[in-house]
């Protein structure tokens, strides 16, 4: 984080052999189209971008350090705050990692609800992306439309977890509580109309000549570059690499769902736009499958020393009360070892590396966040292009600064 007291704005030298025409331009951290507090130091030759130098860390809160001082179950609410647009994805990844350490089997119903809500999260996140991306380009209307549907999704989250954004609904060993009685009907009602809404966004944007001209051929990223720079998720698939963790390394019962993985070989911002739109349609299909095939059963694993007992049991059974007391005050010990669990978050590959030393607190929690790696590709995508294209590129890689800085 250069630019703190006493340090010059940019210490990174201007490229060698550059003409005197080059100018250094500071973009952000307070800039409406940097999606948070991203600061880009741009070296420009007239309107042409020569180099891009991202400065990050403005939102660094030391979550990884904080995790080391908490019990395993206390880390769950912290994970919400990393990628605040897809809290369920973070919850899921962390819970899966710890469950892998514990070698805990999760009931099928809990797994299916996890898939269902993960896909709703994907819709939620993609709606924010679409709205803000279009707004950056100048199409203000779309934002109002996407946030109308996002509001619906947030109400669904609130109904199930009590929170609109920081849900913490997935817990180690299952889910926090049973969903409300009419919950699946409400989701059904939502996704019945949602495909039409995607058509609506598409009508506003796909044929819009301004939008097309701002996106097509901008921010090109080849498959080789994408892999070399660690790009994952929709930007990787838009560059022609057909890889999706949900299909290729399935977790949480994803292998039981049928869905297509959209790809494109163009690799520009337009391709990323199209891939994400199709992804939203596929998510709707998966939600439908989850609703149709929702298994019966428990939503928590049968592990009384790890999973908190029901309120009812806790009030009536001595054993349950003891377990409750023990878990809350002492946590639960996790066998020593290290695991890396990756999932496909809306932004790409999210990985949690959890190391246990056999105590009730994680020895080390590390998050591999998709935005962090994807940001490295921004220079490749912007080099030699117009300054205005930088805005389109930032929008198209869909970064969340919370998960970059952690």
């Amino acid at each position: 984080m250069a630019g703190s007291a006493g340090t010059p704005i940019l210490e990174a030298p201007v490229a060698e052999g550059a003409s005197d025409q080059h100018m250094v331009l500071n973009m952000g951290p307070q800039h409406p189209s940097t999606h948070g507090v991203l600061r880009l130091v741009l070296e420009i030759d007239g309107e042409i971008v020569v180099r891009v130098y991202p400065e990050i860390g403005y939102l660094h809160t030391g979550i990884e350090k904080t995790c080391e001082a908490k019990f395993y179950q206390q880390v769950v609410p912290l994970t919400d705050r990393i990628d605040y647009l897809s809290p369920m994805a973070n919850n899921l990844c962390y819970c899966l990692a710890v469950e892998k350490l514990l070698e805990l089997e999760i009931p099928e119903k809990a797994q299916w609800i996890r898939v269902l809500l993960s896909e709703l999260t994907r819709l939620n996140s993609h709606l924010v992306w679409l709205g803000t991306h279009a707004m950056d380009i100048g199409a203000l209307t779309v934002f109002l439309y996407t946030f109308r549907e996002r509001e619906e999704i947030q109400r669904l989250f609130e109904a199930v977890s009590g929170q609109r954004m920081m849900t913490s609904y997935f817990r180690i060993g299952g889910l926090a509580m049973e969903p409300p009685l009419d919950y699946f009907d409400r989701i059904q009602a939502f996704i019945r109309t949602f495909p039409e809404k995607i058509d609506e966004y598409s009508n506003l944007l796909t044929g819009n000549p301004i939008f097309i001209n701002r996106l097509k051929g901008v921010g090109l990223l080849s498959a080789e570059d994408a892999i070399a720079l660690g790009v994952t998720g929709p930007p990787l698939r838009a560059s022609g690499v057909d890889f999706d963790l949900r299909r290729d390394l399935p977790y949480s019962s994803y292998e039981k769902f049928q869905f297509a993985v959209p790809t494109s070989t163009v690799g520009d911002t337009w391709a990323r736009y199209e891939v994400r739109l199709v992804e939203m349609r596929e998510s709707v299909k998966m939600i439908q499958q989850a609703l149709d095939g929702m298994p019966e059963g428990a939503i928590k694993a049968d592990a009384p020393k790890i999973v908190l007992p029901d309120r009812e049991k806790m009030k009536t059974q001595m054993e349950a009360l003891i377990h409750h007391f023990k878990i809350v005050t002492e946590g639960f010990a996790v066998p020593a070892g290290e695991v890396y669990q990756a999932i496909e978050s809306p932004r790409g590959q999210m990985g949690y590396y959890v190391v246990s030393d056999g105590t009730a607190k994680p020895y080390r929690v590390h998050m591999r966040n998709p935005s962090f790696a994807t940001l490295q590709a921004i220079e490749t995508m912007c080099k030699g292009r117009l300054l205005a294209d930088v805005v389109a590129v930032i929008g198209s890689i869909d970064i969340v600064l919370g998960e970059i800085d952690r």
């Binding site: 990174a12 030391g62 350090k65 070698e103 720079l229 390394l249 990756a342």
Partner: protein, 144 residues
């Protein structure tokens, strides 16, 4: 694993399969060559790099590289022990440029140097920060 053994069996210090995850421990001065060998064997995607501080044990740090194969649909972990004082290893940015930020992050938070890194500066903490926050001898709260 076969690829690593064929390449240089002496650099492979240990191999372990735990909870379905394969971990290969590599000698610290061989990591770049090991990454190149593993990459040639099909693990084409660099996913993650981080460190764990096992203070006061020796070797103190352990780097953990997560590598993924798009073709084999498999993951492998390379683990590298790093000694105090003056912890340093070779940078793997020549093999995977995408390791750039990850190495900067480990440098920033653990103080492990990566030789040959193009721009080894603090990334998350301010440039003038003293100390390395994720080391175990660094307090979780309070003033320094």
């Amino acid at each position: 694993m076969k690829a690593v053994v064929e390449w240089n069996a002496e650099a492979l210090l240990d191999a372990r399969l735990d909870r379905g995850e394969l971990t290969l421990t590599i000698a610290p001065d061989e990591i770049r060559a090991a990454c190149a060998a593993v990459k040639a064997a099909g693990y084409n995607f660099f996913e993650d790099l981080t460190a764990v501080d096992w203070f006061p044990a020796s070797p103190r740090f352990r780097l953990s590289y997560a590598l993924l194969s798009h073709r084999l649909k498999e993951r492998i972990r390379l683990s590298v022990p790093v000694e105090e004082p003056g912890p340093a290893v070779e940078s793997i940015t020549p093999v995977w440029p995408g390791a750039n930020y990850f190495e900067r992050e480990v440098f920033d938070l653990f103080g492990i140097r990566f030789e040959g890194h193009p721009n080894l500066r603090r990334i998350l903490m301010p440039d003038d920060w003293q100390g390395y926050p994720l080391r175990k001898d660094y307090p979780v709260e309070g003033y320094r």
